[in-house]
Amino acid sequence: MLFGIHQVQPGEQGIRRTFGKFSGIESPGLQWHWPTPIGNTRVVAVEQTRSMELGFRQVNGAVTLFQKEARMITGDLNVVDAQLVVQYNIGNLQDFVFRVADPGDPDRAGMIEPESPEGRTLKDATEAALRLVVGQRGVDVVRTQKRPEVQAETQRVLQEILDDYRTGIRVLTVRLQDVVPPGEVRDAFDDVLRARQEKETAENLAEAYRRDQIPRAEGQAARITQAAEAFKQERINRATGESQRFEAVLAEYLESEDVTRQRLYLEAMEEILPGISKIIVSPEAAGGIILNNTRQAIVPVPTATPLTTPVPAPAPAQPAPQATQ
């Protein structure tokens, strides 16, 4: 600052006054102003990214909620605590220095340009913007899905206010750190998230049941119809076989009827007669015979013709010698 010679560093700009009147913006490099009291230059790091925290304070790395700033009402009349960080730099140094009076923000006193809109102006405008945006949306939406939208909209509204006042501040980013329901109702909010999850799980289980049961039923159905087809086929085959067998025998029969009949008859008898009890009587046994309950023949006494084998009367007759045995 010797005789008005001074250095403006890269990332900085100087705002120079002569007799109090604005006389130019100084770019980085070696610069000069009329020595005081005639002229002065105020050098400001315009390109430096500056931060402002809303709703919390960071002291030695520990984050503590600052409830007065953080607490706000959502569009559906719920209450949340929101923590926000605004990053900005200085877009127009002239506006920044000359346009807006500011009572300053005691919280950040050491870290901001004195008498600049970085203080209360920025903080109040941010609060106004954020609460306006949050006040238009429901609590679930603000907490989860639409955070990026809330951030973007807050940035838009904030920049609008700052430009309206001609603060020369350029907002770079607005980031919602945390949006939580107040501690007193936290559990109830978390339970809603859980309940939503459970609903989804229930629906998924039901769909899984569907994906399991339907194919299984269709499989069973296929098996049932296939069994019926098999049955049908078997019946047809059996009938075909039987009819073919019949037709074969029929062909033989048609060639020599009597012989075939006799043969078939005798074959059948061969099969039947060995296994059963037989009584052979003469056709003149007109009265017929009576079988007692042990299947022994009882011949009535008055008979017209004698039997082929003598039988002692009236004793029960012995079964005739079975000549065919």
Partner: protein, 342 residues
């Protein structure tokens, strides 16, 4: 030696004279020069200025956008629900011209004569704005001050004030469903601020005090401390209701789907049974047809064969048969030639 003292005295006199007759007005300042309490000159532009030494007083004022923080007020809305409203106002020494704020000498004069200090100007702004804010707030519902409306999601909208389509609802909340309520942004907060600003600005301008209102914003609108617990109770109850609803819906959906699946399974099975019966019937019918067409060729022979088959089946061990010696079976029993004509 005497010259030295005289030189020093002359230099001193010049210096004093200089400082008394020259002064600077900074970029951020307005200056009013008074002589014996009367305004001599008003400076709205910065630079080096001159005045009469000793008799003229210079007064400085802030040319910039000024700030007034309104004290937090607990205001009732139209339904006598209370909100803590914390607002601020921004104003300047000047007047509105074509949407811009211009600071003319006349404004500065008016300000100096009526309000004189920034503090008094701030108080004036505060009183007017606070009053306008209260008036506006008491005619609005809480929801309007906060800035949203609750609408029900319906298939067809008959009342746009309280209803919204599913499509629109889902742009606001991805998980919105028919019958649910969604929070829809409304411009009422901004409307309220605009009206307060217009009303207050009109009143301030009318009094020609050389100041003009630039902006009014609500920094915070919160539930009063005393009602906090009641609010939390309500919130908790609402959350519990929502949780119950979700769980019930989940169960209902699950029951519905499972019942539907069971129904479908039963249908599939019944249809399969029905088809199977038809198929089996076809089998029976076809087998009967096949047999019949074969047996039709010689029914008598079939009867003969079939009876023989039947005899082998039912004439079993426990049966006793009485045979006539006349039977064909015994044709050759007593002689080698058959003597019947059967």
């Amino acid at each position: 030696m005497k010259y030295a003292i005289i030189t020093v005295v002359i230099v001193l006199l010049v210096a004093i004279f200089g400082t008394q007759s020259m002064f600077t007005v900074d970029e951020v300042q307005l200056s009013v020069v008074t002589r014996f309490g009367e305004i001599k000159q008003v400076y709205t532009q910065p630079g080096l200025k001159f005045k009469a030494p000793f008799v003229d007083q210079k007064n400085y004022f802030d040319k910039r956008l000024l700030y007034r923080d309104l004290p937090e007020a607990t205001l009732p809305d139209s339904e006598t629900q209370f909100l803590n409203i914390d607002a601020y106002a921004r104003y300047r020494i000047g007047h509105q011209e074509n949407g811009q704020v211009v600071t003319s000498s006349r404004d500065v004069e008016a300000f100096f004569e009526t309000l004189t200090t920034i503090e008094r100007a701030g108080e004036r702004v505060e009183r007017v704005v606070a009053s306008a804010l209260r008036d506006e707030v008491t005619t609005r519902r809480r929801e309007e001050i906060i800035g949203a409306t609750i609408k029900t999601v319906v298939a067809e909208v008959t009342d746009p004030e309280t209803e919204i389509t599913l499509e629109e609802a889902q742009t606001l909340d991805n998980e919105a469903e028919l019958g649910e309520e969604v929070t829809v942004p409304s411009a009422t907060r901004q409307e309220i601020l605009d009206r307060v600003r217009e009303t207050a600005e009109a009143e301030i301008a009318q009094s020609s005090q050389g100041i003009t209102l630039v902006d009014v914003r609500i920094k915070r609108a919160d539930f009063p401390e005393e009602t906090q617990q009641a609010i939390f109770t309500r919130m908790r109850a609402e959350r519990e209701r929502l949780a119950r609803e979700f769980r019930a819906e989940g169960q209902r959906e699950r029951d519905r789907i499972e019942a539907d699946v069971d129904r479908q399974v039963a249908i599939i099975r019944a249809e399969a049974e029905r088809d199977a019966n038809i198929i089996r019937g076809e089998g029976e019918a076809q087998s009967i047809a096949i047999l019949a067409s074969a047996l039709q060729k010689n029914p008598e022979f079939y009867a003969f064969r079939r009876s023989l088959e039947a005899y082998t089946k039912f004439l079993t061990q426990n049966t006793t048969v009485v045979l006539s010696s006349d039977s064909d079976l015994f044709d050759f029993l007593e002689s080698t030639t058959s003597d019947d004509s059967s």
